[in-house]
């Protein structure tokens, strides 16, 4: 059998671990395996590895090293930020403002908090997925303790007006948390410039391994532990440090920050090339998400009359990895909450396709992908009763 073609276009789901990252990690498994909390000199290398990673990440954000707290993943960081803020600031108030298009790590944490006496406002977004700053300001109450709005959306790639949100939060003396899992390492972020008080990020979206993330907590934000245990992470996050993975994430951030601008430029070019190619060859197609304020590597199509899972399977047969917001892929009867929030009708949301590129993709691959999409969509439409009805209706009208 021939080696199967693989065009990986699901980098928002996870990324390949870079060889340089693996190389940086390896000594921490078999050589420097000492527990960073131990007193003997042997553990010094483990401590140094973590310290270096912390410095790299703090630099990347314009933060101080003692404001970076390592966690197990982006989801943990989100849970911690929300739940610990609600707990720590309950004397001040019990109201949180977020959006309807957050990742489930935020939305389900909010739902849990609502069961425990916290009130949550879920802001609407416009047809491109951006919040309205006026609505944000109007939602603020005296008892509002936290605004949590994602930096960039994982499905449609829309980048929120984070700087303006930060200004509003600061003006009203409210903490601002942002889930930057999709944006960190992909967009330049400075926590002071944006008035960000807490920021969640994950290693595996930027070529580090799965199972490591961090939460930035601005000095003065008084949230306590979420994972109780030992005195690790300045007593704020118990559990022996995941040394090798933390080192790996540090190396990945180093590489990501070095290449950020050129990577963005390359991904933007490939993204726009593929988007235009598909839009010009496949009728009844739309692009979801903001065209301008958008992650460089994110494409999100909606193809009318077809269903996303079928599309994914057919693309997979052609060696292309993508994802969809259809109900079948979400494990429920409803399509993605993000696509519904931007106003797509259910049946169109079912036909969505998200492709998220990396710098390793090529123009040749984009040509092949565009051609394959065209053929697969045509084939599925030829089987679709919705398309049949649409064509019959249209031919009658004419």
């Amino acid at each position: 059998m021939n080696e199967k073609k693989l065009i990986y276009l699901d980098n928002a789901a996870t990324t390949k671990v870079k060889p340089e990252v693996v190389e940086a990690m390896l000594p921490y498994f078999t050589e420097y395996y000492g527990n960073p909390s131990s007193v003997y000199e042997f553990s010094e290398e483990s401590r140094k590895g973590i310290t270096h990673a912390r410095e790299v990440i703090a630099n990347a954000l314009g933060a101080k090293t003692n404001e970076i707290y390592f966690t197990g993943c982006g989801t943990e960081s989100d849970n911690w930020a929300l739940k610990a803020t609600a707990e720590a600031y309950k004397e001040k108030g019990n109201h949180i403002i977020t959006t309807k298009i957050e990742h489930h790590a935020i939305l389900h944490s909010c739902e849990w908090l609502e069961k425990h006496g916290v009130e949550v406002t879920y802001l609407d977004v416009d047809e491109n997925g951006r919040i309205s700053l006026e609505e944000l300001e109007q939602a603020i109450r005296p008892e509002t303790i936290l605004i949590s709005i994602m930096f960039a959306n994982n499905e449609i790639g829309t980048i929120e007006p984070v700087k303006e949100i930060g200004q509003i939060a600061r003006k009203h003396g409210i903490l601002f948390h942002t889930d930057a899992v999709q944006a960190f390492g992909h967009e330049p972020i400075n926590v002071d410039e944006y008035n960000i008080d807490m920021l969640s990020a994950s290693g595996h979206k930027i070529n580090a391994p799965k199972g490591v993330g961090f939460l930035y907590i601005r000095t003065g934000v008084k949230i306590r532990s979420f994972i109780h245990g030992g005195a690790q992470e300045r007593k704020r996050r118990g559990g022996t440090e995941n040394v090798a993975q933390i080192v790996g994430m540090g190396r990945a951030v180093e590489l990501a920050m070095e290449s950020l601008e050129q990577r963005k430029a390359k991904e933007t070019e490939l993204r726009d090339y593929l988007m235009e190619k598909v839009m010009s060859t496949v009728p009844y197609t739309r692009i979801n998400g903001d065209r301008k304020n958008r992650l460089a590597n994110n494409i999100n199509f909606a193809f009318q009359f077809i269903e996303g899972e079928s599309l994914l399977i057919m693309l997979d047969m052609a060696g292309i990895c993508g994802s969809s917001g259809s109900a079948c892929t979400s494990g429920s009867l409803d399509p993605s909450h993000v696509l519904l929030a931007i106003g797509l009708p259910h049946e169109i949301a079912h036909g969505s396709l998200r492709l998220t590129l990396s710098e390793e993709n090529t123009k040749e691959e984009m040509d092949y992908v565009a051609e394959t999409i065209k053929n697969v969509v045509e084939r599925l439409r030829s089987m679709s009763p919705l398309y049949e009805d649409f064509m019959k209706k249209n031919s009658c009208v004419r």
Binding site: Y284, R286, Q304, F305, I306, E307, G308, E309, S310, I313, M317, S326, A327, C328, G331, L333, P335, P345, H346, E347, I348, H350, S382, M383, S384, P385, L386, Y387, E388, D389, F390, K393
Partner: protein, 145 residues
């Protein structure tokens, strides 16, 4: 996640298409949930299903169950077609993931809806056949860019 049979029927669906002036046609499911199946039947004077075609909007399992259901009823009598249950479709496909079993139910309903249409048109009664549940709403297909 799918069996080889499911993948085979998804990749090479049998009996896709339309029949002009069908003896019976049925459409079930709705676009909101992401599954619509339409079955066309061509039935001769001896109540034998001479030909059957389908069109489906839906996931891999929805396409495969439609395809398998058409294979199971083709050449059969109307009464035999009534015996093609969702379970029979499932088994013929060597099983479906639990979350996809409703797709096979839809295939059974689509066959029944087409048979009901046939029975109405030709003024006959088919034993055990009940009026199909609500058809898909036309208005849901009006969306346009």
């Amino acid at each position: 996640m799918y069996t080889e049979k499911v993948m085979d029927h998804f990749e090479h669906p049998r009996n896709v298409g339309e029949i002009e002036n069908p003896s019976g046609m049925g459409t079930v499911g709705n676009a909101k949930c992401g599954d619509i199946m339409r079955i066309y039947l061509d039935i001769d004077e001896n109540q034998i299903i001479r030909d059957v075609k389908f069109k489906t909007f839906g996931c891999g399992a929805a396409v495969a169950t439609s395809s398998m259901a058409t294979e199971l009823v083709k050449g059969k009598s109307v009464q035999e077609a009534m015996a093609v249950t969702n379970k029979a479709v499932c088994e013929a496909l060597d099983g479906l993931p639990p979350v996809k079993v409703h797709c096979s139910l839809l295939a059974e309903e689509a066959i029944h809806a087409a048979l009901w249409d046939y029975a109405q048109k030709s003024g006959i009664q088919i034993e055990g056949l009940k009026k199909p549940k609500a058809d898909i709403g036309e208005e849901e297909m009006e969306e346009e860019y």
